[in-house]
């Protein structure tokens, strides 16, 4: 029986990579847990409240989106709407064209990965450069991020040093400090030359129109200090109702993502720079991106739109820890990706229909999620969808269980099977050419058959 694609990928990973993904996710997860429980009297109540706030947001997008738009416009921000990935790329391109801009610097945004902005702009003669250190390394390597928060969790310093040498960023040196300084020198020149700074958006408050951005490196600050235009690509679900809710969510985000009380740089942006400020954007644009989100909203899995992209569910997931992010073949890896990616894929759902099975359903992802997304439930709903729609990928690695289902649903057949089942203890089961059994026993030992004795016990029990 064929392996599930994710297992096959995990098996193909060099052991040292697997080990490093395992160790670093485990370390971050443990720190996160300690910090939350040390700091808050009731972290669970905190996460559940955050979850209810975000659930309110997604179920009230019809009023919150126009409210946020009105505030943004009143603050001097130009608002654009992009139903598809192509529309979002075209909107960025259009803004650049109108300014005669050719150079763009990006602060890490998952939406720009999702809409494949860089190749779109490069094809049209524009330069789009990643400035987050990890994303920059990904870009020069023509690779993909494998974690939402730690994009190069899958690369070691030797690989990075080799890439830097190849790109002419100095002789081979794999000291992390040297690598970082070289990137600093190279990138600060790029910020200063760029016409446009592009960011994502962690939150937008519908109350004030404040856009919130968090980074540790300060690259988003640089993207908003040197260039004259700021473009923010924001998924339509990224709203919060009130400014004070930001206080709650920010308290959770840093701790859940990297076990920090607060991320180093947390920006609250309401518009273009103040007239007294010499640096920073004279123009600010927000592009609200749909790209499948409204379909997710219409689905049975809308809770996934609460996600604040902290990566905590990746760090705790036993499957992610073994397989790493590329195994998920999509922009969003780990448990969140297993739900979100197949949904965002729209008509291509069958292509990713195996992802909801990349889970042990242990529930750890739900337990750590700062917005309390019931990921295991959503995975089950998606497994069901895969099965109902007959997606072939949804059944890879699953033995055909039709015969079993028939037997288990007929009381007479079931009783007969229980009575006769003892025979199995005397048969070398591994040799039976029955695929479901073979697949099951290939990684497990069949326990001794003891079926039927409960019924006997029940029957012979002295009545009270």
């Amino acid at each position: 029986m064929a392996n599930q694609p994710i297992d096959a990928y995990a098996a193909s990973l060099p052991p040292d990579k697997r080990e490093s993904v395992y160790q670093s996710t485990k370390g971050t997860h443990e720190k996160r847990t300690k910090l939350l429980w040390d700091h808050f009297l009731d972290p669970n109540e905190l996460r559940q409240t955050a979850g209810r706030i975000k659930q309110h947001v997604i179920e009230n997008l019809d009023t919150l989106l126009p409210a946020a738009e009105a505030k943004l416009q009143a603050n001097g921000v130009q608002v654009h709407w992009a139903p598809t990935a192509e529309d979002a790329c075209a909107a960025v391109h259009g803004i650049m064209d109108a300014r005669g801009a050719t150079k763009l610097v990006k602060s890490k945004t998952m939406v720009s990965e999702e809409i494949e902005l860089t190749p779109y702009l490069e094809k049209r003669g524009m330069e789009a450069l990643e400035t987050d250190l990890g994303e920059f390394i990904i870009q020069i390597d023509h690779d993909h991020p494998s974690h939402i928060v730690r994009p190069i969790i899958h690369k070691n310093r030797r690989e990075i040093a080799t890439s830097f040498e190849r790109e002419g960023l100095g002789d081979y040196n794999d000291e992390p400090e040297v690598i970082t300084r070289r990137a600093r020198d190279f990138l600060r020149q790029k910020y200063l030359q760029a016409d446009v700074g592009l960011t994502g958006g962690n939150f937008i408050s519908a109350e004030s129109g404040r856009l919130v951005l968090v980074t540790n490196e300060g690259n988003s600050r640089f993207c908003l200090a040197a260039p004259k235009v700021h473009i923010a690509l924001v998924g339509i679900e990224k709203l919060v109702p009130r400014d004070r809710d930001l206080g709650l969510l920010l308290n959770l985000l840093g701790r859940s993502a990297t076990a920090q009380q607060l991320t180093v740089y947390t920006e609250f942006i309401t518009g273009p720079k103040s007239p007294t400020q010499p640096d920073g954007p004279e123009e600010m644009h927000v592009i609200f991106v749909d790209n499948g989100r409204t379909e997710v909203l219409a689905s049975q899995c809308r809770e996934i739109l609460r996600c604040i992209r902290c990566g905590a569910c990746l760090n705790v997931c036993p499957i992610y820890r073994q397989a790493s992010g590329h195994a998920y073949r999509s922009v969003y890896p780990g448990p969140v990706g297993a739900v979100l990616s197949p949904l965002l894929a729209g008509k291509q759902f069958p292509e990713l229909a195996d992802l909801p099975k990349a889970s042990s359903l242990c529930g750890a992802c739900n337990e750590v999620c700062p917005v309390d997304i019931p990921i295991p439930d959503l995975l089950l709903r998606l497994r069901d969808k895969g099965k109902t729609e007959g997606a072939p990928k949804a059944s890879i690695g699953v033995p055909p269980m039709g015969g079993w289902a028939l037997m288990a649903s007929q009381p007479t057949a079931w009783k007969a099977a229980l009575a006769g089942g003892k025979v199995i203890n005397h048969i070398p089961t591994k040799l039976i050419p029955f695929p479901p059994l073979q697949s099951w026993t290939s990684s497990r030992t069949l326990p001794e058959w003891r079926g039927g004795s409960f019924r006997k016990w029940m029957k012979n029990r002295p009545s009270k």
Binding site: F40, W81, L192, E217, I269, T294
Partner: protein, 205 residues
Amino acid sequence: MSSARDQILKRVNDALAPLPERAPLPDWDRELVHVRETAIPPSTDLWALFSERLKSVNGEPVDDLATLVNLLRENGWLHGYCDPALWPELQSAFDESFTVETDFDRTRVDDYAFGITAVAGAIAETGTLILGDNTTSSRLGALTPWAHIAVVRDAQIHPDILAAINALPEDPNLIFVTGPSKTADVEGILIEGVHGPGRQLALRR
């Protein structure tokens, strides 16, 4: 053809129409986000608490101007930028071994070893500095030098994040800075000063 905006809002409406009811907006009490060990009594010396928290995120509190100038000299940071509004107040402590400019020249970002700017506020709970466009004389002046010195006055310190958010001043760009710029992208090893300051100082005034 309807506009992109109408298209998205229509899809949102259609998606939400079948919901029998909408999730209500929960209210929450500030106790919920009170950090246990810093439930701060009103009489607390906020500068002391802020200093301690700043140190825990690898920032450096500096209690007086003379100490700051010595520190700059010891590190060989002799060329810097200073907010023109602060310079008259600080100038007398700097001797002629220093070159301090009050105009930030973006073509020479690497020439400045330090940048001195004012804050819009600070947060004791997290050791955070708040910079704003109206209070920070130059975004680049606070960001590109290796050492950033934020000038903090006691009355500007908020006890916690929530208090700071509830009192955010009118400003198009406010930034909470909690320690020096850092990354752990390379094998999870912490390196400071990746794009912004490698040293984050706060001077009490």
